[in-house]
Amino acid sequence: MATLRLRGLRKSYGDAEIIKGVDLDIADREFAVFVGPSGCGKSTLLRMIAGLEEITVGDLFIDGQRINEVGPADRGLAMVFQSYALYPHMSVRDNMAFALKLAGASKAERAAKVAEASRILQLDAYLDRKPKDLSGGQRQRVAIGRAIVRHPKIFLFDEPLSNLDAALRGQMRIELARLHRDLNATMIYVTHDQVEAMTMADKIVVLNAGRIEQVGSPLELYHHPANLFVAGFIGSPRMNLLPVRATGPDPAGVRVALPGGGEVVVPVDGTRAAPGATVTLGIRPEALKPGTDGALAGEVSHVERLGGLTLAHVTVAGGATVVAQIEGSAPVRTGETIRLTIDPGATHLFDGDGRALPHRSRHPLAA
């Protein structure tokens, strides 16, 4: 049982405010991911939770207890560092047993817990090695093992996969998700990689410039982004964003004029989009398909072929480029002019302040 509550959390270094008031609740056994561009304050926020950074203003509660003044050693949390931060002078076994030794655990208890953790992480064969004799992936596992043996209230991960190669990263993502299920523990995970966030999180916290932009499940963020920042950050390839003009209300939503003369009706509540207002239209790349009656036309400027997918970069009237994600190896060629149909269900509209206009219906999987 471990819940976390952040209330009005702020962090300043001199005059520079890094965290500008964060309120957040993380439920027991939840896998929460802090995601955002570099410099957004996500690592600082994690370190404040860990106790490694002082909290300038605000309150931090674990299981309802305010722990602002409790040191990192007494918070009962475990952290996996980006650099792994293994103790270079200790064997893998001693690295994992260090916390237990400090806590005064008996030799037998230490051995049992290390054995259990090394079994879970398949480290049995390496227990007597020093960290310098391990590969990156193995070091990563030792760092996780060091956290597991302590049975912490909350696991904290600070970009733990960013030093691994792409293949290993994919594998570790699955292992971490499995570990979360098996251990039934509350985990907070910091990353700048939205793929990691989407694939592992129960709850994603999108941070930007020291503030929370949106909190929600991966699909909620994907299908119902609260603002332009989240819309652009979540999803790969990025959502296409086009400045357009609202032409009038429609029974199905808001009608907007597309560059080049077409129109599309976005199924959102139109009270904040008066006819004539400049708004931003967001279209997911998979919502654009080649079609002779398409509402959007343009010249293909570049084609990326991934085999199972084709990404067509299309320059539309007015000079903006949109990316269409087409299933399979589509026969589009650079230089040709194509028309694209738009699936209105996967479009979004943002007002002049960048806030999303609410969709009329929720996506069934976006709770």
């Binding site: 860990a50 106790g51 490694l52 040191g71 990192p72 050693a73 007494d74 949390l77 475990a78 952290m79 560092f81 980006q82 650099s83 931060a85 293994l86 103790y87 270079p88 002078h89 260090f98 916390a99 400090l102 806590a103 060091r146 302590r150 904290l156």
Partner: protein
């Protein structure tokens, strides 16, 4: 690594041996002089009949062991005390620096620029009042304070090399400051701490100004022992050399045995 040509390698070897010989020459000359008789000692000739006569006279005239014991106790005491004070100081400066840390370090080093003789009278008076004249404790205190700036500086630079993440991981594992320093910081910087200790030991062993001025007999170390052989009647070079040889012998052997550690410590962190 590119293999050097033969003449180049020979040249480097000759240069190395030559430099080593120049540095070692005073010691060699002292050793040779100590084996001469007193009349031969003033003559820089290399042909002489070796004799241990001077050693016999030196050891008969003064209680070498008592001086040597004082040197050991005072040097080890001064080094241990300096490390005990400097480790916490360097830890705080390296890992929890403030705006003033840099200036504090510079100020500490600047105290080394003050000539010792400038504070001789005040320290002498303080020692007389406290009854510390001619006591080992007194010299230990003076040596500790004398070496503290350089010991703090060296430890500070070694500690700076340790990644913060490792100590933070220790903190997350439940280590308080004491455990963090003992289980993580010191083992990680052991070569550096050892070479700092060795340097402090050698500086204490060689110190003459304070030992000559603050001790007379009870706490007098080997530097005072050597000085007692330069008398108003003139210098007795053979005896002086014999006294100097027995005085530097212990630290020389100790330094030779630990040179590996010393070199490792002094180049620690130079190459990642």
């Amino acid at each position: 690594m590119v293999k050097q040509s033969l003449p180049k390698r020979v040249g480097i070897a000759v240069l190395g041996w030559a430099a080593a010989f120049v540095l070692f020459f005073p010691l060699l000359w002292m050793l040779l002089t100590s084996l001469k008789s007193e009349p031969e000692a003033v003559n820089p000739s290399l042909t002489f009949t070796p004799t241990l006569q001077s050693y016999g006279e030196v050891l008969a005239r003064a209680d070498y062991l008592s001086f040597a014991l004082n040197s050991v106790v005072i040097s080890v005491g001064g080094t241990v005390l300096a490390l005990a004070l400097a480790i916490p100081a360097a830890y705080v400066m390296a890992f929890h620096p403030t705006k003033r840390t840099r200036s504090t370090l510079l100020w500490m080093l600047s105290t080394k620029m003050l000539p010792s003789v400038g504070v001789l009278v005040p320290i002498y008076l303080v020692f007389r009042t406290l009854g510390l004249l001619d006591t080992r404790i007194g010299l230990i205190v003076v040596y500790t304070l004398m070496n503290l700036p350089i010991v703090v500086w060296m430890l500070f630079t070694f500690f700076k090399e340790v990644p913060h993440d490792i100590l933070e991981a220790g903190r997350m594992d439940g280590a308080r400051t004491g455990a963090e320093v003992w289980h993580l910081l010191l083992p990680l910087t052991l070569p550096g701490v050892a070479s700092t200790g060795l340097l402090s030991l050698i500086l204490c062993w060689n110190e003459a100004f304070w030992s000559l001025n603050l001790t007379s007999s009870a706490a007098a170390p080997l530097t005072a022992f050597i000085a007692s052989f330069s008398s108003p009647q003139g210098l007795f070079f053979a005896k002086l050399s014999a006294a100097s040889t027995v005085a530097v012998a212990p630290i020389l052997v100790f330094g030779w045995l630990s040179q590996r550690q010393l070199v490792r410590g002094l180049t620690f962190g130079a190459v990642k």
